[in-house]
């Protein structure tokens, strides 16, 4: 089957029940999305499909419709996305394992709410776990990214 991932068409020859994360990592070599729990309980595998966040570890590829964007597809022409840059500026990551998923959820949030409150952030990000406990920096980075986007608007 054919998938559109990070702006490229890729052919995947696999069982339709294979989780998208397996196809991305093991077949397409896109290693940005991470395997954490395998049951949609941690968010490390989050990717966007047509702009909406999904947990790719439990989504069968046979059910995928739309354009997939992973953490590897956010940068444009070598320039990090606003959210990625804010992550760096706020030095969010500690171990960094969860940040690909965190950034994808934050990207989806800011696409819908341009200036999110603390509550909006909590509502959007509570399904993305960070065992290092970087939540205050995650919140700061989202607010920084929001401010940057608003300043550019």
């Amino acid at each position: 089957m054919r998938l559109t991932v990070d702006g490229k068409q890729i052919e995947i020859d696999a069982d339709p029940d294979m989780p998208l994360l397996w196809a991305l990592r093991d077949l397409a070599g896109i290693l940005g999305p991470k395997f954490g729990c395998g049951i949609a309980a941690c968010g490390a595998c989050t990717v966007l499909i047509d702009g909406s966040p999904v947990r790719s570890c439990v989504l069968p590829i046979g059910g995928v419709e739309g354009e997939i964007v992973t953490i590897e597809g956010l940068a444009r022409d070598g320039t990090l996305s606003v959210v990625q840059q804010a992550w760096l500026d706020e030095q969010v990551a500690q171990c960094g394992y969860c940040q690909a998923g965190q950034i994808m959820s934050a990207t989806a949030l800011l696409d819908e709410i341009e200036n999110p409150t603390d509550e909006d952030i909590d509502n959007a990000m509570s399904g993305n776990l960070c065992r290092c406990g970087t939540y205050p920096r995650i919140r700061a980075a989202i607010k920084r990214a929001a401010a940057t986007k608003l300043a550019r608007a």
Partner: protein
């Protein structure tokens, strides 16, 4: 208004039956509806609607519930999953129900269940923690049942894919009692018997 129509129809039915019986056998009268049969049919419906597979997403507040053998007591859905600030029942920006719940059940134990259009029921359709008479009154109230007749409620129960998930909830979850078709039939029996509600 609907209650008035029902009463009028019932009176007409009773009148017609009584009239026919007067001609054939004036000494006996059989009611057109059987409240006992209606209440028994409602009990079958209530057993389904109050079951966790159904009631856990018919909640009054903003939080779906989890329950089952491996959860212990019923608890609020993890991850701060909520109805959604817009009241849609589909969650919040950045964390929609469909972030994790897809068109079919995950085949992994403890993976998320799935059905098309996964979302919370509208807040006025609350079943979780409600008594049988309360749910009964809600189902009969078009203002709180999506503007449906009872027959339309029955068809919704029989035909809707998300409702149908309650009988096929995936590995590790107890399904709702009986089946969609049997619950449809129970609703039709209840309706035919005048849709009686149990006393508080």
């Amino acid at each position: 208004m609907r209650r008035a129509i029902l009463l009028t129809v019932t009176a007409m039915l009773l009148g017609g039956v009584a009239g026919a019986q007067e001609a054939a056998a004036p000494s006996t009268e059989a009611p057109a509806v059987d409240p006992a049969a209606g209440l028994a049919a409602w009990q079958d419906v209530y057993a389904v609607f109050s079951h966790p597979r159904c009631a856990n997403c018919h909640v009054e507040d903003d939080h779906p519930r989890w329950s089952g053998a491996h959860y212990g007591e019923t608890r609020i859905h993890a991850f701060n999953v909520m109805r959604g600030a817009d009241g849609s029942g589909f969650g919040n920006p950045g964390l929609r129900c469909t972030t994790c719940h897809f068109d079919s059940n995950s085949n992994v134990l403890h993976g998320p269940p799935g059905a098309p259009g996964w979302h919370l029921a509208p807040v006025e359709m609350v079943w979780f923690g409600k008594s049988s008479p309360e749910i009964c009154a809600q189902i009969k109230d078009p203002g709180r049942n999506g503007g449906r007749t009872i027959s339309e409620v029955a068809e919704h129960v029989r035909d809707d894919a998300l409702v149908g998930w309650g009988w096929a909830p995936g590995p590790g979850r107890e399904p709702a009692p009986r089946s969609a078709e049997e619950t449809f039939a129970a609703l039709e029996r209840w309706n035919a018997a005048g849709a009686p509600c149990p006393a508080e």
